[in-house]
Amino acid sequence: MSQNTPPAAGLPPVPTKRKRPWTWERAFPFLTVLPSFVAIVVFVYGFIAWTGWISLTKWNTLTPNMAFVGLKNYARLFTEFRFQADLRNLLFFTLLFILLCLVIGLLLAVMVDRKIRAEGFFRNIFIFPMALSFIVTGVVWQWLLSPRSGFNLILKALGWNPNHLPGWYTSTNIIPSIHWGQIQFGIPVALVAVVIAAVWQMSGFAMALYLAGLRAIPDEIHEAARVDGASEWKSFWKVTFPQLRPITATTIIILAHISMKIFDLIYAMTGPGAEFVTDMPSVNMFNTTFQGQHYAEGAAIAIFMLLALAVFIVPYMVTSLRKEGD
């Protein structure tokens, strides 16, 4: 408990406070926060509720039609080819994106943490892509992964068969292609191109978090391992890595949260893609709502996104705030 917590009701108040009568000033902190709080209640919770309501109506035309249809929009969504493709893409994008960011981020953090020269220089190079917009990243990587240019030129120079160069984001291949519902289930090759761009931009974030985690581990722990004669490799996995578990959990949550919302990068780099190989719920929501004028269906996708996020964000928030209160 911090010292400035006001005494709870029923407990004798601290002597200095008893002398002072209630004045308007006691309400100032609450009144300071109130406007922001009200704004968030309206713009976050109110608007979410309104979106939820729209998702239950017939409003799939330009002019609003608020006739109630229950969960019909949701039911239709899950049978659609495009939305099923979204779910597949979201799953594989999230898995690949998080895995690569964690592995590369950890590797970079461990290297940068070894008391190297020009540490700041290397750190800055790995983090600067985070200062960029996903739009910039998308535009640039579209050029780098263009099938007739960029990395394919290097592959060709290295002796790759020119007739079998990867199509990157233009490919419609899905590996392995397992028939499931309306779609072929597997990793779309085109999605890998987007993952590469996203990892380039976000792996520095994982590095920054891991670096903060590594620096927080007391030196004695390493000393103890060294005295025990553990090899460096062994001491990393047995001693250091377990200490990084909470950081890993936090990083996974934040990256998963970014990946579930990802919109700009896809929009700038590939769009939905042929046969929706790079589509995402966010892009689908945008097209369905604003180009297709299917507001109710768009709202249903938005609510799906929110629920999918809330499933892991709410427990994360509860545990971190509770930890803070201890």
Binding site: T16, V44, L132, I254, A268
Partner: protein, 273 residues
């Protein structure tokens, strides 16, 4: 000892390889943007330009200048208002843990995690009703409101580090709520303002979803214009790369000058900071 030196060399080698990989896009952007239209050729992408040619920058600037203006007009007031509100909220929530603060704060905080698609349709209706749809002030309002959770969070964590004794001493001296803020908290807040300022400026500048759904030409911020530029088939790659460079420049400059504060903002996004 020899093994150690070898390990050290390998470590630097690996670091340099990674650094070069991370810089590939930078190389390609710069090299491509300095080529003339005649020199843009898919198969010579990696080559250095034969002659330095800045005409693509001229063309990109002509196309993007009004939008760059919009983005400054959007990001600067948006950042300032967000930072001031975040500071006031953070002060109230960290130094005056009034009853109910523990409930208000998490409710506010959740707002930073939502996918903005889930508020987009009502937001457009609302902005249209109050006459701010397709205006930069409308976008400023949106960024200020949805930026409240993160700005409040960063300042709340930041102020938690200011000793409570200072506040108590001032209270005994008879300094009031605003007096304490002005005389004690504000002078200690400079680096907090820098962290929040960088965070908000970068996020507002780089934001795309609100910008693309709330504005039409000529009111579009630069990221929407850049996306339109790259979407059009007739624009050459050199102009696209010059455009990407120009629109990334303001946040890159901020990053280069203040990278330490930038990273602090990044880490603050993971709640405990």
């Amino acid at each position: 000892m020899a093994v150690r030196r070898l390990n050290r060399a390998l470590l630097y080698l690996l670091l340099i390889i990674f650094a070069l990989i991370y810089l590939i896009p930078v190389y390609v952007v710069i090299v491509t943007s300095l080529k003339s239209n005649a020199e843009i050729d898919l198969s010579h992408m990696w080559w250095l330009p034969k002659h330095l040619d800045f005409s693509s920058y001229g063309e990109a600037f002509n196309k993007l200048a009004p939008n760059l203006g919009n983005s400054f007009y959007l990001a600067i007031p948006g950042t300032v208002i967000s930072a001031v509100l975040g500071s006031l909220n953070g002060y109230a929530l960290s130094k005056w843990k009034f009853r109910g603060a523990d409930v208000l704060f998490p409710i506010m905080l959740f707002g930073m995690f939502i996918p903005y698609q889930s508020v987009l349709i009502p937001l457009i209706q609302f902005m249209t009703n109050i006459g701010l749809y397709n205006t930069i002030p409308g976008l400023i309002l949106i960024h200020v409101i949805y930026g409240l959770p993160i700005c409040t969070l960063i300042f709340r964590n930041f102020y938690a580090g200011i000793p409570t004794d200072l506040i108590e001493a001032a209270t005994i001296d008879g300094t009031g709520y605003w007096g304490i803020y002005r005389r004690i908290i504000l002078p200690l807040s400079i680096s907090g303002f820098v962290v929040v300022g960088i965070w908000q400026f970068t996020s507002i500048w780089n934001e795309f979803l609100f910008a693309v759904s709330m504005t039409q030409p000529p009111n579009q911020p630069v990221m929407v214009a850049l996306q339109n530029l790259s979407g059009s088939q007739i624009v050459q790659w050199n102009v696209q790369m010059a455009g990407a460079f120009l629109s990334a420049l303001p946040t890159l400059i901020v990053y280069v000058l203040l990278s330490r504060y930038f990273v602090r903002g990044l880490l603050a996004g993971s709640i405990k900071g």
